[in-house]
């Protein structure tokens, strides 16, 4: 312990150097692991980390407005723990949580701190497993080598494998298929971009197709049910970033076929359904979804009609930049180019680790491809290309604000705005409507801004009366005026009015700092 603490970790071949960063498109590895662990029902994660590193709890409670306590506990590393060694404390915290809440599984999550300390977390887990009634597992992710998305993908696969192997050992692994065609939906998770709404939409789609949903993982799933996964006829992985490893494992071990076509946009949704049809028929189902696809496309979904409408005609040839994760950026590029006739001048992804796939998907639909997680490079590209609209992440929205270009948000990193109260899926046929709205509103918002600029706004009256009112008989001292200016803009007018009212009532002609504060005390101005 002592020797390790004082030194840095051994060279491992990584030669990336310190870099100046202002923005991250994907979180660190432990966020991915925690997203998986806390998506499951009755699974608890223990982080071995210094105070404050469990901000995942804040994100889940705040961004997702989660009602339940996030099942993540930080086993706090402080100076004392560093001096004494961490094993005792981590093991205690695992067994304590096991007693307190009887989780089915406790996942010990490596952090940047535990990685640097080079702690033998597997040993901690083995020790804790001796006393714990539930299962204890060490998430197998290298905190410095993989990001949130890769770690999430790996952790899900690891948990699935753990429970399938456990069931197999116990001879408790049902492998016969369900009577009716059925599907596992893999990759729905907490803090995912519109995941909850997408999941509802996918379940609806499967129900329309007469397919039973066998399991949805990890969101809301019980680890006890993971052994049922092989009973489904096929796996559906809607997001490329989360679930592919699990699907590949299930394919290798159980020969389960997988559909990894994201049903986003009218064309891709149809392609996804046709792939499902092919897989089911190969297993003897005899289904024909062509009529369903045609009906949905032409009569139910409004998106195909929108493409033919005069509104969309006006978007023809308009320039757009698309940037996001692989799933959403690729799908959006295809929708804009194929379904709306919009000219995608640049399509980009921050999923550098999976760049080849992205290039293969979008190359024929755009002028340029950008693979980067440097927000500066994307900002520069947008400034250079001057598109009429951007479809990107919160960062591109911010860039768009600076450059006065409207931006529709289509991908993580997630923001509280990605957890709307109303129903906003991106996938399936309702998803096509939502995306059409997003596209239309983004472009027209840009046009409105343009018109406002030309005509100087709708309400020209307000422009004239803005600022210091001309009829004010009161004299603000420089200091008081400066303090007033520090009051946030949206309440400044009210504070000013109340302060002046206060001064008038007392027959004061000058508003000094003292008067300003006295007014605040008196009337709560």
């Amino acid at each position: 312990m002592q020797a390790k603490k004082s030194g840095r970790i051994q060279p491992t071949g990584g030669r990336d150097s310190m870099k100046l960063a202002y923005w991250m498109y994907a979180g660190p590895a432990h966020i991915g692991t925690l997203r998986i662990a806390s998506s499951f029902k009755n699974v608890h994660a223990i982080m071995h980390a210094p105070l404050g590193d469990d901000y995942f709890n804040v994100m889940r409670s705040m961004l997702e407005r989660e009602r339940d306590f996030t099942p993540v506990t930080a086993s706090v590393v402080d100076r004392n723990v560093l001096a004494r060694g961490s094993q005792e404390k981590v093991v205690d915290n695992i067994t304590r949580k096991d007693r307190e809440e009887s989780p089915d599984l406790i996942v010990l999550t490596p952090t940047c701190t535990s990685s640097i300390l080079q702690e033998d977390l597997q040993n901690f887990v083995d020790r804790a497993q001796l006393d714990a009634r539930g299962d204890v597992l060490l998430a197998d992710v290298n905190h410095y080598r993989v990001n949130e998305l890769q770690a999430g993908d790996r952790t899900l696969q690891q948990i699935v494998q753990f429970y399938l192997e456990k069931a197999r050992k116990k001879g408790d692994l049902p492998t016969e298929k369900t009577a009716k065609p059925s599907v596992n939906i893999i990759g729905i998770s907490t803090l995912g971009f519109h995941n909850q709404h997408d999941c509802t939409e996918l379940k609806r789609l499967m129900s329309d197709l007469g397919i039973e949903v066998n399991e949805v993982i990890p969101e809301g799933a019980s680890v006890h049910n993971l052994k049922n996964l092989p009973q489904a006829w096929f796996n559906l992985v809607p997001y490329r970033e989360l679930g592919l490893m699990t699907a590949q494992y299930l394919e290798q071990e159980f020969g389960m076929p997988c559909v990894d076509i994201t049903p986003m946009g009218v064309v891709e949704t149809a392609r996804c359904i046709r792939k499902i049809q092919q897989l089911l028929n190969a297993q003897g189902a005899g289904v024909d979804y062509e009529e369903y696809i045609d009906h949905q496309t032409r009569h139910v979904s409004q998106a195909a009609w929108f493409s033919r409408s005069i509104d969309c005609q006006n978007l023809t040839g308009k320039k757009a930049v698309v940037f996001g994760d692989n799933t959403h950026a690729a799908a959006m590029t295809k929708i804009l180019a194929r379904e709306m006739g919009i000219h995608v001048v640049l399509a980009g992804t921050y999923c550098k680790y999976d760049a080849d796939w992205f290039k293969a998907q979008v190359s024929e639909y755009c002028d340029e491809v950008l693979i980067s997680d440097d927000n500066g490079a994307i900002g520069d590209a947008i400034a250079r290309l001057e598109p009429a609209a951007i479809f990107g992440t919160q960062m591109e929205r911010h860039i768009g604000k600076r450059l006065n270009i409207p931006c529709g948000v289509i991908a993580a990193p997630i923001h509280i705005q990605n957890f709307p109260i109303g129903y906003r899926p991106f996938l399936g046929y309702e998803g096509t409507n939502q995306v059409a709205d997003l596209v239309y509103n983004s472009f027209t918002l840009g046009m409105e801004d343009h018109l406002l600029e030309i005509f100087g706004g709708h309400d020209t009256k307000e422009v004239i009366t803005k600022g210091m009112s001309a009829d004010s008989d009161l004299n603000w001292t420089k200091e008081a005026q400066a303090t007033l200016n520090q009051v946030p803009g949206f309440v400044r007018g009210k504070v000013k009015r109340n302060t002046e009212k206060f001064a008038r009532e007392r027959g004061l002609s000058e508003i000094s700092l003292e008067v300003f504060y006295a007014a605040k005390e008196a009337v709560g101005a």
Partner: protein, 464 residues
């Protein structure tokens, strides 16, 4: 010497539990705004960066004056030269932003790999020509608001000690000195000069609050010579041996110690100027040190209480439980007890009984005067245990970090985010109303929704 004795009537407990507060690097969120010519460079990992971006939401907006130096595997494994790497980044910052000061915020990672930031800074500072201040705002040693403490303690070393300006002053006063024949300075000083030794206040507050507190003291004839931090790094206050210093925030014990030990200042240990009671006690204590009889403070305090009456009616007799987050807990609890509330427990990440002695004494006195039992003060609380206690006590209000607020609300327990008290303007007489505006908001909200019958919004019996 002005520090009060440790109070004895309070019950202290240390759970050393698993608890959540924000990481102390979050201080960049308010300090970069406060110190307008600064640049904050957080030297850490993706974990730090993602926290600031997603939990604090500062990254996009702070971009011009804040960045992460993201340590990669090469840095951690010491294959690369820290000095050259930091030099490369700081030169880039100088070129792009040209700040008056670069503040290096050390993190858990720089602590554990023992990156010698304090050793590197002076060398680099000399080479690139921009002051570099180093603060170890890491989660191994500190909680949330203590990040500010580490920065201000580091800046206390950088306050000019007036050697040059004193020489100038001597020169200017040379003739007058001859005329006064060595009589004491006070007798000859112009009336506008303060009649007391210089006083410097420390703690980062929004500018309107700084002006407000400065004015309150001025009314009593106390001149504030400067604030640490100032609006600009180049305007850091002059600090000489023997100057008096007073803190405005309860989480600045390191800064206080640094000012006393390293700058030989005299600390005025007072309750903190939060709530009308605390503000009055703070002013009175400062006045008493300077031998000034404060004027009209009792009336002033009474008037503020009078103006708070509509809010007081909502909270009198109600209980408030502090889970512990930002170290403002003792001051807020003392004020709320004075408002007529009861406080069963005050969780607090770190309790410096010496620096907070006057505040603790006032808390104890307030409890006695209001006839309520003293709160149990729990240092480094265990959040899980606290949730069991909350379930048992069913307090009327829980002031808590962001992680627990929504789940408690869903179980019918009123909450207020502790972090709001960190960012709201709560100091001084005028802002007492703003504290109660926050405290009463959940109660007022629930009053307006109370007939709907939606108190519990979780299905199964809550396992708080």
């Amino acid at each position: 010497m002005t520090v009060a004795q440790e109070p004895t009537g309070l019950n202290f407990d240390c759970e050393t539990g698993n608890y959540h507060t924000f990481c102390p690097i979050s201080c960049v969120a308010w300090l970069y705004q406060k110190i307008e010519d600064s640049f904050f460079l957080v030297i850490g990992t993706k974990t730090c960066g993602y926290f600031l971006q997603n939990a604090m939401g500062v990254m996009i907006f702070a971009e011009p004056r804040y960045a992460m130096a993201e340590l990669e595997e090469g840095d951690i494994s010491a294959q690369l030269n820290d000095y050259e790497e930091l030099k490369r980044l700081c030169l880039q910052i100088k070129r792009d932003r040209n700040p008056s000061v670069i503040v290096w915020i050390g993190t858990c990672t720089t602590e554990i790999i023992k990156m010698d930031l304090e050793g590197l800074a002076p060398k680099l500072e000399a080479e690139i020509g921009i002051p570099i201040v180093t603060a170890r705002a890491n989660g191994l040693d500190y909680a949330f608001t203590q990040g500010e403490d580490t920065v201000l303690a580091a800046m206390a070393h950088r306050c000019p000690s007036k050697v040059t300006s004193e020489a100038e002053k001597e020169e200017r006063n040379a003739i007058q000195k001859l005329l006064t024949f060595g009589r004491k300075a006070e007798e000859t000083a112009p009336t506008s000069e303060p009649k007391h030794p210089p006083l410097v206040l420390f703690g980062s507050l929004p500018d309107p609050v700084v002006t407000n507190l400065t004015l309150e003291l001025k009314k009593q004839g106390v001149e504030v010579s400067g604030w640490l931090p100032a609006k600009r790094y180049t305007e850091l206050p002059v600090i000489e041996e023997g100057y008096y210093v007073a803190g405005v925030n309860p989480f600045l014990s390191r800064t206080a110690t640094t000012l006393m030990r390293r700058r030989k200042c005299k600390l005025i240990g007072a309750p903190f100027p939060i709530g009308p009671d605390g503000t009055r006690a703070w002013i009175e204590k400062i006045c008493s040190v300077f031998g000034i009889e404060p004027q009209g403070l009792a009336e002033r305090e009474a008037k503020i209480w009078e103006s708070l009456e509509d809010y007081l009616q909502l909270i009198r007799g109600k209980s408030v439980f502090f889970m512990g987050d930002n170290l403002l807990e003792i001051s807020l609890a003392r004020f709320l007890i004075r408002c007529g509330m009861t406080v069963p427990e005050i969780g607090i990440p770190y309790m410096d009984k010496r620096y907070q002695a006057a505040e603790l004494a006032l808390l104890e006195k307030t409890c006695q005067e209001m006839g309520v039992s003293t709160p149990n003060i729990v240092e480094k609380p265990d959040n899980y245990n606290q949730l069991q206690r909350i379930k048992a006590i069913q307090p009327d209000l829980v002031i808590t970090g962001m992680a627990h607020a929504n789940p408690l609300e869903a179980r019918g327990i009123n909450t207020k985010w502790s972090v709001e008290f960190t960012f709201a303007q709560i100091h001084g007489f005028s802002n007492a109303r703003d504290i109660l505006e926050l405290v009463t908001r959940p109660l007022r909200r629930n009053n307006s929704l109370k007939d709907l019958g939606w108190e519990k919004l979780v299905q199964e019996e809550a396992t708080v």
